[in-house]
């Protein structure tokens, strides 16, 4: 038996997984219309690479990755581009974002696919391939996988493959592991090869015996000696990347630290699967498995094209009239969707249909009684009651001092709070306020620097004008006293003088704003 580690806290909410994992993954098919957002990943929005009216093939590039952290977006099937415009997307804000609308032609005609042998391809090329295939973390954080596969400061020891799926109701990874274990394992081996990791540990919670058996069999069949399926105890949030890394290796990855610099990296099973499809089959990320559960007639998993309207999936699972809200993600960390008309994105692992009968709203929030039940279950060893106090009084500096950014928003604290305080909402509020403040500060710093440079330039121009005048005067003088042999003394501002000024400007500006954009749950 492998020695496992534990992390502080954790809760045991009712799993509610059996509703949706009894039937095999169903193909959702091609809907009448697909709306594909160009910003489905952490990092920069992809740049549109098609035109309105253009006929595209399945797998054709819709959006080109921009900047070092970005990922490509593709046409999920063949058809015609009907629009490139702002549409409401699956995001807590309910705001529109740039999307490509595709009307499928039903032929599902592929672009030519190129298969690659990862063993004979340099890692840098493979990373670019993954980036152009739009492979991102499918556990919910949608961080571009190619970025996470860049070598770190330490020698890679362990590659963790996350099949824990700790959040209640969600079963998409469970079903994927049961049905496509072989391809997950191959994807994992490819990642191990790219990172030159010593071992691969596939962590699966012990409430998924079928998935564990399937994965073990796949590892054995493929004969990967350095790969092991490890059964981990079921506890929420044991499937958080940091928590799983801790359980399997004993390493704690602090906020703002990249796990790869500690010799360990973590990918979701679905990400490993997609990476395998992308490299060895030349198929970019066009679809994903999504659990539709909660208040529907037949909760189940679908393999659906990215861009499929959520409402289509819900009606396939049997929509019910008393549904009042659509939740994307699990019951612990999910967000409420602005409507069911938004489309499926790469981040969307689960849709929970919510009704007052299924999820009765909690009683109104009471004051915090400092009972520290929240601190007892916090997997990040935080003091949620203090963070709540600071967030509520908008004392953001203090909140940061008390490690607000170590909070993984797992919701364990809200789950146990006897006062039913929506703690995580307060943390999300505080975090986004702090980010906004940082953005403003950064903008102000840039403006200050530019203004100072502007003043400097004006000053220089003035000097130059003055110098020109002097020169002209001198020239006139010289003309007048043609015979005299006087050289003009004044010159335009000395170049080194300008350099000094410029240095001063640079020193007085403060561009070092740290932005803690940590990759959280894969």
């Amino acid at each position: 038996m492998r020695q496992l580690f534990t992390f502080h806290g954790g809760v045991h909410p009712p799993a509610n997984k059996t509703q949706s994992n009894r039937t095999p993954i169903m193909q959702a098919g091609i809907p009448e219309k697909l709306v594909v957002p160009l910003h489905q990943h952490a990092g920069n929005t992809a740049k549109p690479a098609v035109q309105i009216g253009e006929r595209v093939l399945k797998g054709q590039l819709f959006g080109m990755p921009e900047g070092s952290v970005s990922s490509a977006v593709h046409a999920p099937t063949s058809g015609t581009v009907a629009a490139i415009d702002m549409q409401v997307v699956a995001h807590a804000s309910g705001l529109p974002d740039l999307c490509v609308t595709l009307i499928p032609d039903g032929k599902d005609e592929w672009v030519p696919r190129k298969q690659t042998d990862y063993r004979t391809t340099p890692p840098a090329e493979l990373r670019n391939l993954l980036r152009m295939a739009g492979v991102v973390g499918l556990g919910g954080a949608v961080f571009p996988s190619d970025v996470k596969l860049r070598p770190g400061a330490a020698k890679m020891k362990t590659l963790v493959i996350n099949g824990a799926e700790c959040e209640p109701y969600i079963t998409c990874d469970d079903m994927l592991m049961r049905e496509r274990a072989d391809e997950i394992v191959r994807g994992a081996e490819m990642m191990r090869h790219m990172l030159e990791a010593e071992e691969v540990l596939i962590g699966i919670e012990d409430n998924k015996p079928e998935a564990i058996a399937a994965m073990q069999q796949a590892v054995q069949q493929c004969g990967f000696a350095r790969m092991e399926v490890v059964t981990v105890p079921t506890v929420y949030p044991g499937g958080g990347a940091k928590q799983l890394i801790r359980v399997l290796t004993g390493i704690e990855v602090a906020a703002g630290v990249r796990s790869i610099d500690l010799g360990v990296q973590c990918f979701n099973v679905a990400t490993a699967y997609s990476a395998h499809r992308a490299v060895e089959h030349g198929e970019p990320l066009l679809s994903r498995i999504v659990t539709i559960t909660g208040n529907v007639a037949q909760p189940q998993n679908f393999e659906a094209l990215i861009g499929t309207p959520i409402s289509v999936l819900i009606s396939k699972a049997g929509a019910r009239p008393d549904t009042t809200a659509h939740i994307m993600g699990g019951p612990m960390m999910g967000i409420r969707l602005p409507s069911a008309e938004v489309s499926l994105t790469k981040a969307c692992n689960c849709i929970i249909e919510s009704s007052p009968a299924l999820f009765p709203p909690p009683p109104p929030a009471m004051p915090c009684i400092r009972c520290v039940r929240c601190a007892d279950v916090c997997p990040a060893d935080l003091q949620p009651q203090d963070l709540y106090w600071f967030a509520r009084s908008k004392n953001f500096g203090k909140a940061q001092e008390f490690h607000l950014f170590d909070c993984i928003e797992c919701g364990a604290c809200s789950y146990v709070c006897p006062s039913h305080i929506p703690l995580v909402q307060y943390y999300r509020f505080a975090k986004s306020e702090i980010w906004a403040n940082e953005r403003e500060k950064k903008a102000a710093d840039i403006a200050r620097e530019r203004h100072e440079f502007h003043l400097l330039r004006q000053e220089r121009e003035k000097q130059e004008k003055q110098a020109a005048k002097d020169k002209a005067a001198a020239a006139a003088k010289a003309k007048a006293e043609a015979k005299a042999d006087i050289k003009p003394e004044a010159r335009p501002a000395e170049p080194d003088q300008i350099d000094t000024l410029r240095a001063i400007v640079r020193e007085t500006a403060h561009p070092e704003v740290v932005h803690s954009d940590a990759e959280t749950k894969d």
Binding site: G250, L262, Y415
Partner: protein
């Protein structure tokens, strides 16, 4: 939308209700040994507490129903009633409870914001203002020279004179702690003083069983995870250790540690007063410091101070330190602990 979609079905009222439940055995034992007078003061305190709470909530423009239903006011009332003599006149209970709820709780921001334990503030005010009235403890029924009927007790509480020839001294006596202190002042040794019928096996006759019942209730709270072991265990250990050191130094002058456990409000404090979440530290280390300090102070005030018991003042003194204790005992967060494996891995 509330996320998480579902929560554990615990609530503030559920917690408070179970604490009240855990007090019931002690109340039963109390009635068994001292008669039903305690029930009168409990009811008086409860009614006053609820009324004061409602008025204060109204004044503070807060919804009354959910807050009245959280049972926290009731708990304060019961704790206060259990700390003062049951035969005390009605106004003593009422004034103490009103002070506890209106001043100590609501003036500081109500549930969750009060820095001092309201019941102990109420007690402290009473013992400072009315020390004599606060020392008239009922004798156990078995020791009383005459026994009063319940109607007479009720009458006395509400201001009627005692019937016939009964004097107050006939039905009241000093508490064991008080008795011991007076005897020691008179030059009697602990051993000799303890021969009095006031004492039982470990603490006072009768009152030791009430303390035992508090312990029982406390164990129930521990078992049902309403409270954690940090506070009660540390408090008792600290009290035991302090008492033990003094006792070892001079057993003639200082009573045995077990006596201190089972007399006064030690058990009540350990499981019901210190464990008030609002006024105790939130960190584990902080809880240890808090309870250890309270145990030490309780002993010092009890033995060397001028008041019959030290629990209330020890609690209040430690309450003052809570924010500081919390600040200096912040635990290391995830990733900042120097775990061995981390050290090996770091380049």
């Amino acid at each position: 939308m509330f996320i998480p979609l579902f929560t554990l079905s615990s609530s503030v009222s559920g917690i408070m209700l179970r604490v009240l439940l855990a007090l019931l055995p002690a109340i039963a034992v109390y009635v068994w040994y001292y008669g039903p007078a305690i029930l009168v003061s409990l009811s008086l305190a409860s009614i006053t507490a609820l009324a004061t709470e409602a008025v204060m909530l109204k004044l503070r423009n807060r919804p009354v129903a959910p807050f009245l239903g959280d049972f926290s006011a009731l708990l304060t009332a019961w704790l206060l009633a259990l700390s003062i003599p049951p035969l005390a006149p009605w106004w003593l209970v009422v004034v103490g409870t009103m002070f506890a709820i209106a001043i100590a709780k609501h003036l500081y921001g109500g549930l969750g914001s009060n820095p001092f334990n309201p019941a102990m503030v109420g007690y402290a005010v009473l013992i400072i203002s009315f020390p004599a009235t606060m020392s008239h403890w009922l004798s156990p029924l078995a020791h009383a020279q005459t026994s009063l009927s319940f109607a007479d007790q009720l009458g006395y509480i509400f201001g009627n004179p005692l019937p016939g020839s009964t004097t107050l001294d006939a039905i009241t006596s000093a508490t064991p702690l008080d008795h011991l202190k007076t005897q020691l002042h008179g030059g009697v040794s602990v051993h000799d003083a303890m021969q009095s019928q006031v004492y039982g096996y470990l603490g006072g006759y009768g009152s030791e069983w009430v303390a035992a019942a508090f312990l029982l209730g406390g164990i129930y709270l521990l078992g049902s995870r309403i409270i954690s072991w940090y506070l009660p265990v540390t408090f008792l250990v600290s009290l035991f250790a302090t008492a033990g050191i003094f006792h070892l130094a001079n057993p003639e002058l200082y009573a045995a540690p077990l006596f201190h456990w089972f007399s006064g409000a030690s058990m009540l404090a350990a499981f019901f007063i210190l464990t008030d979440p609002v006024t105790s530290p939130t960190t584990q280390k902080g809880k240890l410091i808090f309870a250890a300090g309270a145990g030490f102070l309780t002993y010092i005030i009890r033995v060397f101070g001028g008041f019959p018991d030290g629990v209330a003042f020890a609690t209040l003194l430690m309450n003052i330190c809570v924010p500081l204790i919390d600040l200096y005992t912040q635990p290391k967060v995830f990733g900042q602990k120097a775990s061995t494996s981390n050290k090996q891995e770091r380049p």
